[in-house]
């Protein structure tokens, strides 16, 4: 079992992926998902608050980083945790989320990095619509989305491409997958 933070950090540290740090020039901040930080600490005795910030800072110049909560073990929930994103209590979720929006506004950051599907949906889809995110805020990205957008990679070599195609064709045949002719 590996977390996304461990895996991304491993790829970066071992040089398996290279990142273009000049892709983004915006100020940014990192949100702490309760499950990966506080609740991970409670349940497993370890958390990803620091590693999450480290990964983000490998992608965008650290001088552009704006801290949301120095004490990340006590950072606020996005407001949609525990299944609340799917629950029919919209007004409560927005009121809760306004505290997260305040935090984001106070950082002055243009980009919010959310290392969790649920937090990202609340911060990206609901908070800008129903809360005051300030005038600087532009967008929210998954942590792995940020890494993916900053990737600097070479296409595979001929042998690797051939092996990929052969494996793909065998798999499609096994599973009965038929695609229309590639254009």
């Amino acid at each position: 079992m590996v977390s996304i933070f461990d895996l991304l950090a491993e790829y970066i540290k071992e040089g398996r992926i290279k990142l273009n740090t000049h892709k983004f020039h915006e100020t940014y901040t990192v949100h702490d998902p309760c499950n990966y930080v506080r609740k991970s600490q409670i349940s497993f005795g370890d958390n990803y608050g620091e590693l999450s910030r480290w990964v983000a800072q490998q992608c965008i110049d650290p001088s552009l980083y704006r801290e949301m909560c120095e004490d990340y073990m006590n950072n606020l929930c996005c407001g949609a945790g525990g299944g609340a994103w799917a629950m029919p209590y919209d007004k409560e979720r927005w009121a809760y989320g306004s505290m997260k929006a305040d935090q984001i506004k106070n950082t002055g950051a243009e980009i919010v990095i959310a290392p969790c599907h649920n937090c990202r949906d609340q911060i990206m889809k609901d908070l800008p619509k129903h809360c005051d995110m300030g005038t600087n805020y532009k967008e929210t990205l998954y942590l792995w989305e940020l890494v993916s957008l900053c990737l600097d990679f070479e296409p595979w070599n001929e042998a690797e491409i051939e092996a990929g195609h052969a494996a793909r064709d065998a798999q499609f045949e096994r599973d009965g997958v038929e695609l229309d002719e590639e254009e």
């Binding site: 629950m87 409560e92 599973d175």
Partner: protein, 239 residues
């Protein structure tokens, strides 16, 4: 004070549903209010906050907590539990309140999604063939992307012996399929040996949130079973 106004509160500790999970859950509370003061949900449900909910359980009014909106508006963020000076497991207690709610009264789709997951392998009931076709199609699309092509790429399904097996959040194949490419591109660049299971690939465990321990364990078991069946070395759970 007139005599009839004085009522003795009888606390029946033996027959409590929630307080009996562990004796330390509620009885140690000194009502200091650290939990309520630090809780972002305080004030969102009239009449309730974490301290009052714990107090209600101590005083034998647990059914009122179970029937209230409180355990569901609480996002189980764990701030209260993390800071409680008496070590009371508030988050666990409120989740136990969710568990005690009748299943047909669980708000929103999380219980229905959990049942769907048990029947069809993902919360949204996406059929296997549709899923496989989508992965195949998106793979070709990503391979031939104009701006950043990834020649040789495809989504390895049910590949034996891979280094990493990854779960998928059903909202992505359902509504935001292109978002799956973020991880795929990272795998491509890292030349990772990875795979996805063709069945029971759901990464969202709504049993955790609906308080349904059995379904939660069943789903986790399936993820592990996929890894064993395909002899994958590592499970990546990108939630």
């Amino acid at each position: 004070m007139p005599e009839e106004a004085v009522k003795e509160i009888k606390v029946d500790r033996k027959h409590r549903k929630i307080g009996n999970i562990a004796p330390e859950l509620a009885d140690r509370c000194y009502t200091c209010g650290t939990c309520a003061g630090g809780c972002p949900a305080t004030g969102l449900v009239p009449g309730w906050d974490p301290r009052k909910a714990i107090r209600a359980i101590v005083l034998g009014m647990e059914q009122e907590v179970i029937d209230s909106k409180w355990p569901w508006v609480c996002t189980l963020c764990g701030r209260c539990q993390y800071q409680c000076p008496m070590g009371i497991q508030l988050m666990r207690t409120f989740r136990a309140c969710r568990t005690a709610r009748e299943r047909d009264k669980v708000p929103g789709p999380i219980h229905k999604g959990t049942m769907m997951n048990l029947q069809r392998g993902n919360n949204l009931g996406i059929p296997r063939d549709d899923f496989l076709f989508l992965l195949a199609e998106l793979g070709v699309e990503m391979e031939n992307d104009e701006e950043q092509p990834t020649p040789g790429f495809y989504v390895p399904v049910d590949k034996e012996g891979a280094n990493i097996i990854v779960t998928i959040n059903s909202k992505e194949p359902f509504g935001e399929p292109d978002d799956m490419k973020f991880w795929w591109k990272i795998f491509y660049a890292a030349k990772e040996d990875w795979t996805v299971s063709s069945t029971n690939w759901e990464g969202v465990n709504w049993g955790l949130f609906s308080g349904d321990d059995e379904s939660m364990k069943e789903q986790v078991g399936r993820v592990i079973e996929n890894a064993r069946r395909l002899k994958a070395k590592t499970i990546l759970y990108p939630e």
